[in-house]
Symmetry: C2
Subunit: 501 residues, 2 copies
């Protein structure tokens, strides 16, 4: 039992370092003065090196070896050991020289990306991106060699965000999804009646928007005593601890909806972070089992809930009270339709629910080909543009709004994109399960009783934390294995109505 | 010179941890949600334990041993070694378990203090404070036992903030000061003509005050690209790095002056932190040699500068423009007199220049008795109230505005208070030296050319950093040893005029 205590103390220390690094990132994106970036980069590097040292410590390895053999510990403890071992292996497998080179390459690529994206100059970014891909491949090779369970380098990367998921498993799901989405988009384009959204074109004062987002947060069930909202250029959620969850939003005064949906999206992430079982706090079970399941929580609140007719039946009166002149012409039906406009566009972050996953699928195909060596970085823009034209019917005027629009690859987050689509699929399965479990599901939302849904998610998703894999969690909650049908059923029902198909 | 490089790398890591801990404190006092305090206390404890481990590392000890013998290094490097060795000795002397317990005790005491202070409930705070005092004594005992150069536990604590200073050395200075202040206060009370301050009694909107403080910051020379101002219950300055200096202020809408003077006070600290020599950044020479010299910078700007006639000759027009109705009746002479009202009161942070040091002397006496064991924490309120009555003629209606008014003891900053008085003494010496060096000294201030004074301070105080002790710094800048006379001369001249003595 002493060994377990020693292990747990090491886990708590690592989780404390995670929390501190989370706070540092939050600060950098919200309040930190720009001139402090140099020293701050050094602070981050120092703390990450200390975390590496802790994870790679031979004493931790020895504890894990012994504890793994102890069958008396029970499944929770076994899961914690497995979780930490997973993190540890990735730290131990990669030579420190490579870790440093990759960190340098990423930070150089990020800086180059910011400049190159602004002017749409892919050539200026190309060598940096190439470097990131090469070193990320080298990293995946090192991890693959140490683990030996992977069938491709891409799977090593994917596994970082979606433990146990493989490209081979994803592919049939995603190609089925793609086909159905292209069909639905075609139906909308050829036969649909586009909603009117002219009443969304006014000016919406910043202070009123901010107050509204705070009201929404409280209504939905984000605990503002155990978290807070601030502003940042790119909204995000960072948990300093389970009792201190920071989310951000951004406000444009010519757009009434952007801040609302960002806040609700991040609130979904935030309520998940606040929802782990109290007895797991500070330990390795108070974690999402995958990024896809994390995204399912943001997507569920943002799309399934906040783009529903029931939601706006409840909130349109408040919105009209807040912006009486701007929204004079809106009623619930017209507003519901207006927040569900489908319009193929260049940018993923502005995409609607029908086209969003087409953006993801394109990235999945391309990053797989880049990692696998079938596509060279030099050929990326042409491949990107060709697919955009084919899948979405649009052509980027320059690479800044084309293959350089996302921060992920510059940051080295290669293999992350599928998590977004998995999040959408899981969200649809979970919402359908909630409807089955709660016959008056939409009535609770129409009456603003969001606690019913949140309570259901707490019980069926949040509290289990890392105990179950993402797929196990969704299967237990919904009674179904991962599938695209619930998502497609949801889209077809919704957009048949919205577009009068 | 590989050994020096290895030493420097270790110093940078320790300074990085200092900066991260500084950010964490800033966050706790500004934005952190209250519910996150528990985990945050653990984060602090974890990072302080890591810093302890780094400072106590035998490898660092071995490097210091060898480098100390190397006479070829030069004085800057020798000073750095001495500085780190000073910190290291205090860490090595204190068992890691005690470090962690003290960190947790301080965090808990801080949270309890915030609640207990608000409602004036000393009993709720007492066990936490007792715990902090007991563990601080235990820490001082451990350090004293390792060093053996101290004549009392209190000197061990004092030495942390004022290297080389002792209670025995302070006592004659402070008792001479006390006598003179009591005399001056008596003269003001019995013979003085109190200034009129009725025009300061209006309402001063928060937003206008905030804008004004930002304007003052920029005017004085606080670099807002390399720092920022926020709000906190108790204003403070924390340097995350030399390029990221955080200060705070607080605003009351029934008080036009509180925020102005807090901002200027913290700007004094902040400009010092921004003023170290660029080549020392991230290393152990970019540090104040004592807290007294740090306080001299805040006090100099707050009192010597911002409570001068010249300062208000420059700023009263702006202030009247900002608050035209409220300040209609004010002219420079009446305003200058109004910001220098002497009135014995309950609160240190609201005290005037004559009574301020009487507040400090009371705390110095009480904390010495608490550490020495002559006073118990349970008896603190009675002892506090008795001395307040005797020295200042006032009686706190509750302990929230009595012995719980300051954050210091809850934070474990025991032995800190004398630094404030030393700061006042140093400030007077420095300002007198600036007057001698710059014949048109007050003209530059009257014209708002604060860069002249700031430049003089940069050259004569800031840049030398830890190279000289506090007393050496002031002696080199002023040509005088530490003394109370310059401060008393300044007070007598000023208050003879203000009170028409």
């Amino acid at each position: 039992m002493d060994r377990w205590k020693a292990f747990e103390a090491r886990v708590r220390e690592i989780k404390d370092l995670d929390g501190i690094l989370g706070l540092m990132t939050w600060d950098e994106e919200t309040y930190a003065p720009k001139a402090g970036r140099g020293p701050r980069g050094r602070h981050n590097a120092t703390l990450e090196a200390i975390r590496h040292e802790r994870l790679a410590a031979p004493e931790l390895g020895a504890l894990i070896e012994v504890l793994r053999e102890d069958k008396s510990l029970g499944s929770d403890k076994a899961t914690m050991i497995e979780r930490i071992q997973r993190r540890r292996l990735r730290e131990v497998a990669v030579p420190q020289a490579l870790v440093r080179r990759l960190a340098e390459a990423r930070s150089a690529a990020l800086a180059a990306w910011q400049d190159a994206k602004r002017v749409g100059d892919f050539q200026a970014f190309r060598p940096y991106l190439q470097n990131v891909f090469e070193l990320t491949r080298a990293r995946a090779e090192a991890i693959g060699a140490a683990g030996g369970r992977y069938t491709s380098l891409y799977d090593v990367l994917l596994d970082e965000y979606e433990p146990g998921m493989t490209a081979a498993r994803l592919e049939p799901l995603l190609s089925c999804l793609k086909e159905a989405l292209v069909d639905l988009l075609e139906a909308i384009r050829s036969r649909g009646t586009p909603p009117d959204r002219s009443f969304l074109m006014g000016r919406f004062p910043d202070a009123s928007q901010w107050a509204l987002t705070l009201r929404l947060l409280a209504d939905l069930g984000f605990d503002t005593e155990r978290g807070r909202q601030d502003r940042s250029a790119h909204p995000f959620t960072n948990a300093v601890s389970e009792h201190d969850v920071r989310i951000t939003t951004r406000i444009f005064d010519d757009n009434a909806l952007s801040a609302i949906f960002w806040t609700i999206h991040e609130a979904g992430h935030g309520m998940y972070e606040q929802g782990f079982d109290e007895k797991d706090h500070g330990l390795a079970l108070a974690e999402a089992p995958s990024m896809g399941i994390h995204e399912s929580q943001s997507r569920l609140w943002e799309n399934q809930v906040a783009r529903s007719r029931a939601f706006w039946t409840h909130y349109l009166p408040l919105l009209k009270e807040t912006f009486p002149d701007q929204l004079r012409g809106a009623d619930v039906e017209s507003f519901y339709r207006a927040v569900n406009v489908v319009k193929p566009g260049l940018l993923r972050v502005e995409a609607d629910e029908v086209t969003y996953n087409l953006h993801i699928l394109l990235r999945f195909e391309l990053e797989r080909a880049l990692v696998g060596g079938q596509l060279s970085v030099a050929d990326l823009p042409a491949a990107w543009n060709e697919r955009m034209k084919r899948n979405l019917g649009v052509s980027p005027p320059n690479d800044g709004v084309g293959c350089m629009q996302d921060i992920h690859w510059a940051q080295g987050a290669i293999g992350y994109f599928p998590s977004y689509t998995l999040g959408n699929l899981y969200a649809a399965q979970l919402m359908a399960a909630f409807e089955r479990a709660q016959p008056d599901a939409w009535g609770t939302i129409e009456r603003g009783q969001f606690g019913v849904l949140l309570g259901w998610l707490r019980t069926n998703v949040h509290r289990s934390g890392y105990r179950q894999t993402a797929e196990e969690t969704v299967a237990a909650a919904s009674g179904e294995a991962l599938a695209v049908e619930p998502f497609l059923r949801y889209l077809r029902a919704k957009f048949s109505h919205v577009y009068r198909l």
